[in-house]
Symmetry: C2
Subunit: 216 residues, 2 copies
Amino acid sequence: MDTIADTSRTDKRGRDTRSAIRKQALALFAERGYGAVSMRDIAEAAGIRQGAIYNHFAGKQDLLADLMISHLDRLLAALVRAVPAGGDPMRRLEAFASFHVGYHLDQPDDVVIADMELRSLEAGRRGAEVHALRDRYAGVLATILEDGRRTGRFQTPNAKVQAGALIAMMTGITVWSRDGAALTREAVTAHYVQMVMQSVGLIWPLGEEAGCSTAQ
Amino acid sequence: MDTIADTSRTDKRGRDTRSAIRKQALALFAERGYGAVSMRDIAEAAGIRQGAIYNHFAGKQDLLADLMISHLDRLLAALVRAVPAGGDPMRRLEAFASFHVGYHLDQPDDVVIADMELRSLEAGRRGAEVHALRDRYAGVLATILEDGRRTGRFQTPNAKVQAGALIAMMTGITVWSRDGAALTREAVTAHYVQMVMQSVGLIWPLGEEAGCSTAQ
DNA sequence: TCGTTATGAACGGTCGTTCATTCATCTATG
DNA sequence: CATAGATGAATGAACGACCGTTCATAACGA
C-alpha cells in the first residue's frame, strides 16, 4: 500500500520513469532540502507532469522514505563487502574509516539526505526502518571499537559514544567537500583514516617512529 | 531595513514580545525545522497573532538570520573567554574541546539551528555574515592545530581539514544527546576531550603510562 | 494626543493530492 | 494476422489547505 508495484519497466521512449523520479528527487532534496522541493519541481526535472508521480509513489513522504531506505540498504551491503566481520580490530577500523570516507566522497547526495532529512521523515513503519538501518551501521563500528577496547589495543572511553562521534566526524565531509578541490581523494581519505586511528590512541601511520614523549 | 528597531521594550502585560518570539521560534525551528514551522505557529507559541510578528521582525528570513547571528555572536564571545589566545597549544586544544562540548550540551537548540538550517538561510548580506562567523569559529581551532603542528607537538595531517572534522565530531553530540541520560555531563565531556586529544596524536589522559608499544 | 503595538481579515501563491480522461502498449481470441 | 479488451501510465485541471505577508483598524501606554 505504501509503494506502487516495484517493477520498473521502461516506457515507449525507453526511459524508466520510476528511476528518473528517484534520481531527480534525490538531487533536488540534497540541493534544496525536502521542504523546499515541490512535487511539481520533481516532475519537471524528471520530464513528466505532477500527477504522474503518483503512478509510481504513494506520495512525497513515500518517495523520501524510499530514497533513504534504498540508500541505507546499498550502504550496508557495501560495508559488509568492505569490512571483515572478524579479525584484527585495527585492520577492521582502518577498513571501516577508509570505506566510509570513500563512500561519502562518491555518493554525497544519498548521504546528505539520510543525514539531514531525518526530521522530514514522519514517524511510522518506514521511519522506524530507517532508524534501525542507521543503528545497524553505527553498530558495526561500535563492535569494532569494543573488540579493540576489550583486547587492550584501543584507548577508547566508550565504544558507543565514540562510534557516534567518529561517524559524525567522517560524515561532516559532505559539508565542506564542495570546496575540497585542493585535496585529492586519496589525501582526504588518508587524513581521516589517520585521525580515526589516532583517536583510539594508535600511533599512525604505522611504522612511523612518532615520538612517545609526554613532554609538555 | 532588515530588522525592526532593536529596542526590546516590555508591553503592558510585562512581557517582552520580541524576546518571546525569538525564544519560541528557536524552539520550534530546532524541533521541526525551518520549513515546517509557520509564522502562525510561532505567533501562537508566543501568545500573539500572526500579524504582530511583523512589528518586530521584517519577515521569516530575518527572524532566522537574527537567531543565527545572535547565537554565533554569543558563541564566539564565550569562546574568547574560555580559550586563551596564545600559549601551549595542548592546553588551548583541551580548553577548546571542553568549551565546545559544554556549550553544545547547554544550548542544543541554538546550535542545531546554526548547523542544520544553513540551507534555509537565503544568500545575501545576512547569509555572508553567518558564514563569516562560522569560519571565524573554525579558524580559532585551526590556528590551535597549526600551532601544535608547527611546534611538533601535534600529529596532524592538515590543520584546516582536521578543524572541520573535529568540529563535526563534537557537534554530532546534538544528534544523540537526547538519549544520553546514561552518561553524566562530565563523562561526555571527558570522553570527547580524550578523543580530540588522541586524534592529534597525544597520549591522553595526561600522566597515564599508556603503553607506547607499536605492537601490531 | 501621539507613537507603538496588536488584531484579524484578506491577498495572491503554492502546496500535496485527486481524478476523469486520454493514450500507448500488451494479451487473448477469432 | 486482425481485432477487441485489459492494463498501466501520462495528462492537466481542480480541490482544499496553508503559506508569508500586508493593511486598515483598534487598543493602549506615555
